[in-house]
Amino acid sequence: MIWSFKQQLKYEYRAGIKVRWKQYMGLVLVFFLLGACIYHSAGEKVAGNLTLTDYLVKIFSGIDEMKKADRTMAFYLPKEWGVVEILYLLFVVNYPKSDYEQRGYQVILRTKSKSMWWIGKCSWLVMTTICYYGIFYLVMLVCSMFRYQDMTVRNVWGIQQIILSHGEGILSIYLMPWITMLAIAFVMILLSMTFNQIVAVSAAICYLISAVYISKSWLLGNYTMLLRNQQILGSDGVTCRQGILFSLGIIIITTLVGMKYMKNKKL
């Protein structure tokens, strides 16, 4: 079983990551463009001194919850947040289903396990997420010229001052953006196996964007927005601890459900 998993993992790396190196280069370009946009949106006095934290706060601030009274206002999606998170969903949605349809049976006949195939895809998703967000953070670090500062001090962007405790701040901008998106992506790829990639990514994007309107703990998008944190929003807000537990729970459940589903699926 362990041998089989190692071989599956090797396959996933070659077929699902190594072969997409051009797309990863494209990500580097997109994130640098994003960094340039953020640089230009900062005032002249500040632009040259932006730190990594400033860039990440700009991207992951999110917006205040759209209250009922604001429903006449035009819909607004935080652009930088949308670019990073929606692009991630588009980046990962295609591979599992297309691999299944094209080469799936060749791999399964060799590993002798449909469940192992699914575990391989889950592992691929984790590896890809780490690569995607790894590239993102690295590019932002370069854009900031390797400058770093704690979150609690500055208010560069003219929005509500974000003051979080040190631990909550670190988790909010370095862990929550990708662990919650990973959980959403797990459900998305299971949906793509059941239906198709278009249905799956549409559902995932709608679910993600609904968090812009509503601050609820069961909408995972809230955990990727600093302004939804309980330390800022009060009891209506969310905490990183909640987000981590929810995300891990969804990942585990989806993995198990997917294994059961694949075992019975006709190839």
Binding site: Q8, Q106, V107, L109, K266, L267
Partner: protein, 219 residues
């Protein structure tokens, strides 16, 4: 018998795809499945591999039933419908990626099979640049390269010219002589009679006829 298919029935959305099919297959023979498009040939091959769970019936290999302690045939190579490979990889890289899963063969074996199947000049060519016939050959190569005990080829002669078909016949005969059980499907009667030792005719999910072949003719 090495491989027994016993009363296999498959129903999908109230439609009977396979209807009480039984086959007895021995090692060291080439069996043909002949039938029109939609007759159930591919579904039957999937059921034999273990890629499809039948509604009723079972597949037994060497006395062991699929679905008991094993879900798939222990040693099988298959080409079912379209061969699917990675376009950005060469033919060699695609085969290497699959071969590394079981680790039974190395670089030399893969190069040998590419040469035997007629792809020696295309080894370093990316798969997306292959013609239809080349893609089919690569699919066949993937199915046979690890010398499995059971080889299942669904319409392997699609897009192959006459010379390639004769070459395929030589390769399959060699594998047969080494003890492999080979099951191939085709809708062309003459092509199948050239390749097979026995032929099962399948129509609307049922076995309609069974005949033995000698020197390319039914006996």
């Amino acid at each position: 018998m090495y491989l027994e298919v016993s009363n296999i029935t498959k129903i999908i959305r109230n439609e009977i795809i396979l209807d009480d099919i039984s086959l007895s297959l021995e090692r060291g023979k080439i069996y043909g499945l002949q039938g029109k498009n939609g007759s159930g040939k591919t579904m039957l091959m999937r059921a034999i591999c273990g890629l499809l769970r039948p509604t009723k019936g079972n597949v037994t290999i060497d006395g062991k039933r699929l679905g008991d302690k094993m879900d798939f045939l222990p040693s099988v190579g298959a080409l079912i419908e379209n061969p699917g490979f990675i376009g950005q990889f060469t033919g060699y890289e695609n085969l290497k990626m699959l071969a590394d899963i079981k680790g039974l063969i190395g670089k030399t074996d893969i190069q040998d099979i590419l040469e035997r199947i007629g792809l020696e000049n295309a080894e370093k060519k990316k798969y997306k640049a292959y013609s239809l016939g080349m893609k089919q050959k690569l699919g066949i190569a993937a199915a046979i390269m690890e010398r499995p005990d059971v080889i299942i080829l669904d319409e392997p002669t699609n897009a192959l010219d006459e010379e390639s078909m004769k070459n395929l016949h030589c390769i399959l005969t060699e594998y047969k002589d080494h003890g492999s059980l080979i099951l191939i499907s085709c809708h062309d009667k003459e092509e199948l009679e050239m390749l097979s030792d026995e032929i099962y005719e399948i129509e609307n999910g049922k076995i309609k006829n069974h005949r033995r072949i000698q020197d390319g003719k039914a006996i």
